[in-house]
């Protein structure tokens, strides 16, 4: 690998960039923007160095597949279910195209809706297109999607570049997603607002041993514009008031995952994610899972997920002071949840090397406990359960 690095010393190039940046940073005034771009520049220099040192092997192009899913979520008074479809096809051994459709029929009678408005139903449709291009050790993926519901349209465009290095043991990935949302309000045609989103991703997957693999991912998320809900109300001195959410949000997340083969056709996985943002939310997510093959046709998975977060700075169940920003969005409160999941896959038909057809079912039960959000119908801290159910067919050919 290093023998092939005949161009400018790749690692030293990265180091030189660090040194030069250290000198010019002192002159930069716009700190936030500079910080974001410095991070990107360092990552790009590192990736450039890594790219320069790669060998002559190639990565796998995703295989042809088709998936048909029916999903259903029922929790806290919200019922969302619908179908989803995905088709993926290779072209000329170099490009893989994919198209997907996802639909949510939402019937919302959640605690917010029931106590401050009236239940409603709504349909959301999402269409996505993707293209993956493989050249030797690199994979470039372009994705675009649009999500539409009565009062909210969201468009996303993303680019991801993955590079295999170090004899295929290390995989480095950089990604960027840009989004634009248009927000409206039912029954109030004069309300129109927008939101813009930026996401920057860096990921490294490392094979540790022939049976263990780990990955580390970091993401920077920035949002700008209308980030609240035109329907939600906050409570100030016991009275209902339209919520006021900040118009910017800057967040970071890091996630570590490890998967290990335990030797008897089973595997274990563990992940941990830490999230923090400038709304003062700090969240921890931990998941532990076990998968096992049974005979030639069955594959079962089970998982346990813990989540806890602290409330946003401007969140209050019942504010006792007037502040610039105020929200009673329970998604921004202090709460914890525990989820128990199980998945089962049955191999309907397999012709090795030709095609495989599988029938799958997944179920997750989650228990939410809110610390600073009260159910105003009872006056107690709110707690609710959710059931998530999926049944789907996957075919690879």
């Amino acid at each position: 690998m290093c023998a092939k690095a005949r161009a400018a010393p790749p690692v030293c190039k990265g180091a030189a960039v660090v040194v030069t940046n250290a000198r010019t940073t002192a002159r930069m005034n716009a700190r936030t923007k500079a910080n974001r771009w410095n991070w990107i520049r360092h990552a790009a220099a590192l990736l450039g160095g890594v790219l320069a040192a790669s060998g002559a092997r190639a990565v796998d192009l995703p295989e042809d597949s088709a998936e048909a899913l029916f999903h259903s979520y029922n929790g806290g008074g919200v019922n969302a279910s619908g179908p989803a479809l995905l088709v993926r096809k290779q072209l000329m051994d170099k490009v893989s195209l994919s198209a997907s459709y996802y639909m949510d029929a939402v019937s919302n009678a959640s605690i917010d809706v029931v106590t401050t408005a009236s239940p409603y139903t709504e349909n959301r449709s999402e269409y996505a297109l993707g293209a993956d291009y493989v050249y030797r050790d690199s994979k470039i993926s372009l994705t675009t999607s649009t999500s539409r519901e009565g009062d909210y349209t969201a468009n996303r465009v993303g680019l991801d570049v993955t590079q295999e290095t170090f004899g295929g043991m290390t995989s480095v990935s950089l990604g960027f997603t840009r989004g634009n949302d248009t927000i409206g309000k039912h029954g109030a045609p004069e309300f129109a607002d927008v939101a813009a989103h930026w996401q920057y991703r860096l990921g490294v997957t490392q094979i540790l041993t022939p049976k263990w693999v780990m990955s580390a991912n970091a993401e920077v998320l920035a949002d700008d514009g209308f980030l609240g809900s035109p329907y939600r109300v906050a409570r100030v001195f016991g009275a209902a008031v339209a919520e006021r959410t900040p118009r910017t949000r800057s967040a970071r997340a890091v996630k570590f995952r490890v998967i290990g083969d335990l030797g008897s056709r089973d595997a274990i996985h563990a992940d941990y994610r830490y999230f923090w943002d400038n709304w003062d939310i700090k969240a921890h997510t931990a998941e532990l899972g076990y998968s096992r093959y049974f005979g030639e046709k069955w594959l079962a998975d089970t998982s346990l997920r813990f989540y806890r977060q602290d409330h946003a700075l401007f969140y209050s169940d019942n504010a006792t002071a007037e502040t610039t920003y105020i929200s009673r969005n329970r998604q921004l409160s202090t709460f914890s949840s525990v989820g128990l999941g199980a998945k089962l896959a049955y191999n309907l038909r397999t012709v090795p090397g030709k095609y495989a057809l599988k029938l799958n079912g997944a179920y997750e039960y989650t228990n939410f406990k809110f610390s600073d959000f009260t159910d105003i119908r009872t006056g107690e801290a709110y707690a609710t359960q959710a059931n998530l159910f999926q049944v789907y067919l996957t075919a690879t050919f």
């Binding site: 290093c2 796998d60 004899g167 995989s171 998967i259």
Partner: protein
Amino acid sequence: MSRRLFLTTALLLCAVLQTACAIQPWVKPYEREHLADPIMKFSRDSLSEKHFEHVRDVREGARGATGVQGGGCGCN
């Protein structure tokens, strides 16, 4: 003083990474049988994962860093 510190750190980093270059990949392509199994993939069914991620994005305050693929067969 800080310029010198940076130069020394950068040089040290160069030296360390050169030593690291001397380390050969310790899992050979013909030893990746277990890693090629679908049970060892970070993300197995994309639509199913997409639904889980959407539900969590909506219900929780935290988002992101859900991961990128790697590992696997490493063939070709």
